[in-house]
């Protein structure tokens, strides 16, 4: 993957088959801007939320005056660091929002995964809490040498702390993956020698994402795999 433009093209084509991802741009006039964003909503048991029975809703349509709004929280928790959401009855706070960003790194010339996890009220989870929910943590003890790792960095665009999956092994990994699939292609179809590694570069992003996703708790949808295999 040699240019941002190539990354962008592959990202947009990825979204066609896997529409949970969004393409986000920040500066209007800069062409070389944008990245992929995926948000997953998971519950405490780290399952992606699925449908359950619907709750019954009753709108309370009473007009609210100033006095009806309880502002006492401002007095009770000023100067205290305790987050008073600890004993909340709100099921929303049990929901963890996993935010995955895929940003093109110009120095490594590969896509890089950034991750942050927070609750619905914006409380950020600690790294150890995040780490334990990542499938990658289960591989930790046995194969620490080959699995790439996370560190906390400033998000290159947002400037806020994010966890970054180290890109340093990505080029090597992808070289191996793409050369393996090249051999397979060659075996399948001896007449067609056009499948050079360069041609396979167009699957760089989707191939890489298919390897990385399961490690960080992104389920690859079946329809995306079908979509890719039809290509």
């Amino acid at each position: 993957m040699t240019s941002f433009q190539e990354f962008k093209n592959q990202a947009l084509s990825l979204i066609n088959g896997w529409n949970e991802w969004c393409w986000v741009t920040h500066r209007q006039r800069v062409d070389e801007d944008g990245y992929l964003v995926l948000k997953l909503y998971k519950n405490k048991a780290n399952c992606i939320l699925t449908s359950t029975t619907s709750s019954s809703i009753r709108n309370d349509d009473n007009q609210i005056e100033d006095n009806d709004i309880d502002m006492s929280i401002v007095d009770s928790s000023v100067n205290s660091n305790n987050n008073n959401n600890n004993n909340s009855v709100d099921q929303d706070t049990d929901i963890h929002i996993y935010e995955y960003h895929v940003i093109f790194s110009r120095s490594y010339q590969v896509p890089v995964l950034y991750l942050n996890v927070y609750k619905k009220d914006s409380t950020v989870l600690s790294w150890s809490d995040i780490w334990n929910t990542l499938p990658l943590s289960k591989y930790d003890s046995s194969s620490h040498n080959i699995v790439p790792y996370f560190s906390q960095v400033e998000h290159p665009i947002l400037g806020i702390p994010f966890y970054q999956l180290h890109p340093c092994e990505t080029p090597n990994l992808m070289k191996q993956i793409l050369s393996v699939s090249k051999e397979e292609h060659d075996d399948e179809d001896n007449n067609n020698n056009n499948d050079t590694i360069e041609n396979l570069q167009q699957y760089f992003l989707s191939s890489w994402l298919s390897i990385v996703s399961p490690l960080v708790g992104i389920n690859i949808p079946l329809h995306f795999l079908k979509y890719m295999s039809n290509k």
């Binding site: 529409n19 920040h26 909503y41 619907s54 929280i73 401002v74 928790s77 619905k120 600690s126 806020i160």
Partner: protein
């Protein structure tokens, strides 16, 4: 499932203000708003839900303070604009930030809410909605940003205007699939896929295809149709309830289209396939519109707090905004990287908890402290009696020119301050005193003062885990050596010559059976010589009668950095040995045989020679008549305590007597210490 003649119950929004939004608000408050309390336009968006467990939410992010292209008055193309992400819809908001908790509490909440409601009503009446349907989605947010503590209080209001009569469904709620055939649904999906319209119209064409259009196309869409079909992008995923945006949309319809008695509403939920491979089904309602419906003047939609009452929510973002916490997290994570990538058995927790006492805050003290800091050590105590002089800062890496002037700072104090400036999370403390030294006699008037210094030093030795001996004289090392030996604390001694250095870890006494209940044999390990073990003379006043160049440390500048680094790395190696300070002394040959720690060997002494660019791991036995660490000396200290110390300070010659060196000469057992010496000679030869 659904019953007819039912008042529609709508699923309300909840707010989701992303961390990046609060970061943005903080910096806006600091750099732009300062003390201004002007209302600020903000933009939020809502999206289709991916789960029934997930309540519809209004999302604010890093870019919420940007205006949309149409909101922006100037057409400057360099401006950045707000754009909702794909498959998301704009909601226009106003942020009221208050400077004080009291202002926030006293804010005219009901009035602001009513203002926003009136604005929606005006837009409905004036026809602005046709031009920009997103104007139906307004919200207000009241905030109090306690920037200093990174705490935020916020209260959202998302007004839904109540009609004079609540809207009712007049037919059972059905699914989209029950209403349209597969091809029509495909048309719907493809028309709405990249649409930014939150509300739309659906027309059944003569050829049984459908068309989707914006709400200003009403007349061309529904010329003579009795029950027109409208739709809205529904952030709710519940099977029988629509989401909040429908409320204002229905009021708009009944006001703008007074002739329409009934309307079919498609609550469109897209066809997002979530990873679980199921989709949320869209639903279709049939709603009665009363011809004379007006806004009742009331509106609802304050967001509740987590306890279900209408009250502000609170969020503390210290963990992502407090630079202190960020620095700590970063430093820890960086060290963990070493563990992940190179050495899984690296014991960072033990290192972090190790308390280090640095006796001497000169070149060695400064460099040792910096190296400890990079290893994640959090507790460092400096001891020194001198002040920072003009010549110091260039060599002593924790000091600056400002530490010498206008008034010279105490070295230990300046060092601790400097360490905290580098890394505020470090617990660095300082003590100003000079270590009592043998042969430096104490007059009766000084006795009390020296005694309290002694007690302070003993206390520090007891409280710390590792003591670095980094002073510039030989005799100042005697008392700490004795105290550490007595209290079983690890000493790492570093000494510099002009172009050579010596690092020694002093031995730790063998734990006796009752002190350790875990397998004594296992813990036995090895005793090692101390700095004084190779001496047959007692330490005495060497500073007397010295020329200036001898008093100052005259050494090659790089030496201190090398020696300091090795001293710290030696400590790290010791901490990684299962029996720590009792670890067998290892030398170069052990590297090949298999080192005892994941970091390599744990040597006893390291002698470095800059002239040869060589460092050698060496080993020396403890000397049973040592003037600092032998059992006789410890016994004497145990029995007489301060009295013994005072005696030594006044006349150090008593040491050789108590240690038994004097006897040694008389008893003619020279062979014993000649062997020791010859060991030493061998070492020297190795070095040549």
């Amino acid at each position: 499932m659904a019953t007819t003649n039912n008042i529609i119950q709508y699923k309300e929004f909840s707010s989701l203000a992303n961390v990046s939004f609060w970061h943005e608000l903080s910096s806006k408050k600091l750099d732009v708003l300062k003390l201004k309390e002007d209302p600020l336009p903000v933009n939020a968006y809502y999206s289709y839900s991916t789960s029934q467990q997930l309540d519809p939410f209004l999302c604010l992010e890093y870019n919420s303070f940007l205006l949309t292209k149409s909101q922006s008055s100037n057409n400057n193309t360099t401006d950045r604009y707000f754009e909702p992400p794909t498959r998301s819809f704009l909601s226009n908001g106003i942020l009221y930030n208050y400077n004080t908790a009291e202002d926030f509490k006293q804010s005219p909440k009901a009035k602001l809410f009513e203002d926003a409601s009136k604005q929606i009503w005006n837009d409905i009446k004036s026809g602005n909605i046709e031009k920009d349907p997103t104007l139906l989605n307004r919200f207000i947010v009241l905030t109090f940003a306690d920037i200093k503590n990174h705490q935020f209080y916020y209260l959202f209001g998302i007004p839904a205007l109540l009609p004079t009569q609540p809207f009712e469904t007049i037919a059972p709620t059905v699914t989209l699939e029950e209403t349209y055939n597969e091809q029509q649904i495909q048309t719907l999906h493809s028309s709405l896929q990249s649409s930014t319209l939150p509300f739309f119209l659906i027309k059944n064409n003569a050829d049984s295809s459908i068309s989707v259009g914006s709400i200003d196309q009403w007349d061309s869409y529904f010329n003579d149709i009795e029950v027109p079909t409208v739709g809205f992008c529904d952030p709710c995923a519940l099977s029988s309830n629509p989401g909040w945006p429908l409320r204002n949309f229905l009021l708009y319809l009944s006001t703008a289209r007074p002739n329409v008695k009934k309307v079919r509403v498609v609550c469109y939920r897209a066809n997002i396939k979530v990873s679980g491979e199921q989709t949320i089904s869209s639903i279709v309602l049939t709603v009665a519109l009363n011809s004379n419906t007006e806004w009742s003047g009331k509106s609802v939609g304050w967001e509740k707090d987590t306890n279900g009452k209408i009250a502000p929510r609170f969020i503390s973002l210290a963990s992502t905004m407090d630079p202190m916490k960020l620095a700590s997290q970063s430093v820890d994570l960086n060290l963990k990287l070493m563990r992940w990538r190179v050495m899984p058995s690296l014991d960072l927790e033990t290192i972090k908890e190790t308390k280090c006492l640095l006796l001497g805050s000169g070149t060695l003290g400064c460099n040792v402290a910096r190296c400890l800091l990079s290893w994640g050590v959090r507790n460092v105590t400096f001891v020194d009696s001198s002040k920072v002089s003009y010549s110091n800062p260039v060599r002593q890496s924790l000091f600056n020119f400002e530490d010498c002037t206008p008034k010279a700072k105490e070295k230990s104090v300046a060092a601790a301050e400097s360490l905290k400036r580098i890394f505020p999370a470090v617990n660095a403390t300082s003590h100003v005193f000079s270590i009592p030294m043998p042969g430096h006699s104490v007059s009766a008037s000084q006795e009390e003062a020296v005694k309290s210094v002694f007690e302070n030093l003993e206390d520090l030795v007891k409280k710390n885990d590792v003591i670095f001996l980094l002073t510039d004289s030989r005799e100042s090392r005697w008392l700490p050596t004795l105290l550490a030996r007595y209290h079983n604390k690890q000493i790492i001694n570093a000494a510099l010559g002009f172009d050579s250095y010596l690092i020694v870890r002093h031995g730790i006494r063998e734990p006796n059976a009752n002190e350790s209940d875990t397998g004594a044999a296992n813990l036995k390990g090895q005793d090692l010589g101390c700095y004084f073990c190779n001496d047959v003379i007692a330490p005495t006043d060497t500073l007397k009668d010295r020329t200036l160049d001898q008093m100052c440390t005259v050494t090659r500048p790089g030496l201190s950095m090398m020696a300091s680094a090795i001293a710290v790395e030696l400590m790290i190696s010791i901490l990684h040995h299962p029996i720590k300070g009792r670890a067998q002394a290892e030398t170069e040959t052990d590297i090949y045989a298999g080192a005892s720690t994941p970091l390599g060997i744990v040597p006893h002494q390291l002698r470095g020679f800059l002239s040869h660019y060589q460092t050698m791991p060496l080993f020396g036995h403890p000397f049973k008549h040592c003037t600092a660490c032998s059992d006789q000396i410890l016994e004497e200290f145990k029995n007489r305590g301060w009295d013994f110390i005072l005696q030594v300070l006044n006349d150090s010659t008593c040491l050789t007597k108590i240690a038994g060196i004097d006897n040694l000469n008389q008893e003619d057992v020279n062979i014993d210490w000649e062997i020791d010496l010859s060991d030493d000679d061998d070492d020297e030869k190795d070095n040549e």
